[in-house]
């Protein structure tokens, strides 16, 4: 088994928190993983991505080759498109529909969605709406992780366990909000897929 994921979003959207949960759930499941991430200058409101690889055998490369990713998991629709060339033709796109507009030439949303829908497997999720419903607008990343969990070769309870670990220092309310965000994302993806 091998499962390669491109995580995408804008600096500050919590891509690395998604990665933390998946990494630890993979370790818990006895899988090998490697996860290359971006720090420093690129984080300041710029495009950020992380290559996350899961496998039951040793992984060498930290980077996913073009055309081999099983999934693009993105917290922002324009960022989803930026990494399309990494996706296998039969790979899954799990993308937020909520735009992060901090550039003057942001393209019309409908055109972005039209392009995303060209991927044979695509799940578009209104992460902003669901995160609000869960009680925390910042929990969009966990909404998207919940949606992706439908496809991931990981157990739901392992993912939830590390959502708790990730947020426990910030108090019980935030843990609950993020678990709810995960659940709402998961349900939304199950309905669409």
């Amino acid at each position: 088994m091998k499962y390669d994921i491109i995580l995408a979003g804008v600096g500050g959207q919590g891509i690395l928190s998604i990665a933390f949960v998946i990494d630890n759930a993979a370790l818990e499941a006895g899988l090998f993983f490697k996860q290359a991430e971006v720090h420093g200058m690129s984080q300041r409101g710029g495009a950020v991505q992380s290559h996350l690889r899961l496998s039951d055998t040793r992984i060498y490369s930290d980077l996913i080759p073009l055309g081999e990713a099983d999934m693009i998991l993105s917290v922002e629709p324009l960022e989803t498109l930026r990494y399309f060339e990494y996706l296998k033709p039969e790979g899954a796109v799990v993308s937020s529909t909520a735009p992060y507009v901090n550039i003057p030439d942001y393209p019309p949303l409908e055109e972005i969605f039209k392009e995303i829908r060209k991927a044979p497997v695509n799940v578009l999720i209104d992460s902003e709406k669901l995160a609000k419903e869960a009680g925390s607008i910042r929990a969009q990343n966990m909404v998207m992780l919940g949606a992706a969990s439908v496809f991931l070769p990981l157990r739901e309870e392992h993912l939830k366990k590390y959502i708790e670990v990730l947020f426990e220092r910030r108090g019980a309310q935030l843990v609950q909000n993020n678990l709810k965000a995960f659940e709402l994302g998961r349900q939304a993806a199950l309905q669409k897929h």
Partner: protein, 532 residues
């Protein structure tokens, strides 16, 4: 054995702690910052070690050298260009030698994700004639760092660990071993070894040269260098270094056969093993992350008669930027897979930018307006978040070279006739390398204006402490000889815009040295404080 999820940087830090580290020193810089961040976490978490941010890399290196002199184990870490700053003590510490284990971790940034060049630190190790270990995986980062302390004490020299961004900032699980204790008690270095008067230095340098044979012997038997011969196929042999090994193994799994290869992870490199591989095969491909360091050795001037040598120098692999599995795939003769394509749709770029509410933005707006009256101005800038002032919508700065260069270049520019000649530098960058050029300018009362953006932190790398901020910074600047009349403090906020423009204009017009401190806390740090 315990398994832990660690960044490459963190694997190095943990290994140093487990190797019996007494003290670690660093200056922040991507992709090396997380080494010290992790050491500080370990230290706060009860590990008996000292972990310190320093004012710059040269100071960090010298502090580590002092620990080594005292017979204890020291780590110093920074990004590749930090080694330029620390080059003086680095090169000379190979001559003094190490007493307690001294390990210098340098994180190179091929592809310049967050840097102004992609220099390859293996050349520095070669230049200093010391050992360099180059891990290919997180486990090796841990294992090699532990071994590096032993090697440093065994050979009596500093040992370099060379990381690259893709390992420094990648996470994987690492098996960790039992820690050992730091060296106990003090054991001073011998004064005749550590006092580099020419008579001592000549003897010490000869000793360093005499040791090269032992270092080469180590390379031949090191488990980190692996020669694997495929006796079924002698067409292609691969010489692969650092994380190039990962891409090679990824691609080799898809080839009809795995070519013979030599994985090189220590420098000096294992010459005999290399010769064995070269003799066996008809064609050699050299894969390395960074400059074509090994490739130049292998090619020499005349190449190897009858053999084809490929690598970066013949563009079989890209000669700049990071390696990718795709580039290595092509070099090994495999075709590239095609992913989904986005056609007839322009994906707008999303470059990094100053955060909403950033004080630098208000300073740049005021500066730009003040400069309108001075068409022949030039603004020299420096390394930090504020380098983003070079991009739209600000387009406010015209240079960025290296730490502190804004102040010295503004002085040179002023002396060449630029008026007004302006330097823009952050508080931490100023403490790092801006003080000495400002002393130079104060001594000469150069006709220039220095704007210090005092946000109280090292913002770009995640908010490490700044050494020259707030009120003490004012006194420091006065102490350098800057006149009180032309030392101004402004608060960069939209409501102060008109007043700030006026202050800046007055100082630009003044024919002599002015310093303006634009002081407001980094918006990220302020947010973090409010959240906690």
């Amino acid at each position: 054995m315990k398994k832990m999820v660690l960044l490459g940087d963190e694997a190095v830090a943990l290994a140093a702690a487990h190797a019996g580290l007494t003290a670690g020193y660093s200056y922040p810089g991507t992709p090396a910052s997380e080494i010290m961040e992790y050491l500080i976490r370990l230290s706060n978490g009860g590990e008996n070690l000292l972990a310190r941010w320093c004012v710059n890399e040269k100071v960090a290196y010298e502090e580590a050298l002092g620990v080594s002199f005292a017979g204890k184990r020291a780590l110093v870490s920074f990004k590749h260009v930090g080694l330029n700053v620390a080059a003086d003590p680095f090169i000379n510490s190979a001559i003094t030698g190490a007493n307690g284990g001294l390990v210098v971790v340098v994180a190179d940034d091929p592809g310049m994700h967050s840097s102004q060049d992609e220099q390859d630190s293996r050349y520095y190790a070669d230049f200093a004639r010391i050992l360099c270990l180059e891990p290919t995986s997180h486990q090796e980062a841990y294992d090699m760092t532990r071994e590096a302390f032993d090697l440093s004490e065994r050979f009596g020299i500093p040992v370099m660990i060379r990381l690259v961004t893709r390992l420094a900032h990648s996470r994987a699980s690492v098996s960790v071993r039992e820690p050992r204790l730091p060296n106990q008690g003090l054991s001073y270095g011998h004064p005749e070894d550590w006092t580099l008067l020419p008579s001592n230095a000549k003897r010490r340098f000869r000793l360093l040269l005499d040791r090269q044979g032992e270092l080469k012997e180590y390379a031949e038997q090191s488990v980190f260098n692996q020669l694997v011969i495929n006796s079924e196929n002698n067409k292609l042999g691969v010489v692969v270094t650092g994380i190039g090994f990962n891409y090679f193994k990824e691609v080799a799994a898809k080839m009809p056969y795995e070519p013979s290869y030599l994985k090189i992870s220590t420098y000096p490199f294992p010459e005999n093993k290399l010769r064995q591989l070269l003799e066996k095969v008809e064609e050699i491909l050299v894969i390395e992350e960074g400059y074509p360091f090994m490739e130049r050795f292998i090619r020499g001037v005349a190449g190897i008669p009858g053999k084809v040598i490929r690598g970066k120098m013949d563009r079989s692999l890209p000669s700049s930027g990071e390696l990718t599995p795709d580039a290595v795939s092509l070099a090994l003769g495999l075709s590239q897979k095609k992913g989904l394509k986005v056609e007839n749709f322009k994906i707008a770029q999303r470059p990094p930018q100053l955060c909403p509410g950033c004080p630098h933005a208000d300073t740049f707006k005021a500066l730009n307006e003040a400069l309108k009256d001075f068409p022949n101005n030039n603004v020299f800038s420096d390394i930090g978040c504020y380098t983003l002032g070079a991009l739209p919508p600000y387009n406010a700065v015209k240079t960025c070279v290296c730490m502190g260069a804004s102040v010295s270049m503004a002085k040179g520019g002023a002396e060449a006739g630029i008026f007004p000649s302006v330097a823009v530098i952050g508080d931490s960058t100023f403490a790092h390398s801006g003080i000495t050029p400002l002393l130079d300018a104060a001594y000469a009362n150069t006709d220039m204006t220095v704007i210090i953006l005092d946000n109280g932190t090292v913002a770009m790398t995640g908010g490490q402490p700044s050494f020259g901020t707030g009120e003490p910074l004012n006194r420091l600047i006065e102490g350098l000889g800057v006149g009180k009349d032309h030392l101004k403090v402004i608060v960069p906020l939209p409501k102060n815009h008109e007043q700030n423009v006026k202050t800046i204009k007055e100082e630009l017009a003044y024919h002599g040295l002015s310093v303006i401190i634009a002081r407001r806390e980094c918006i990220q740090i302020l947010g973090d404080k409010k959240r906690s």
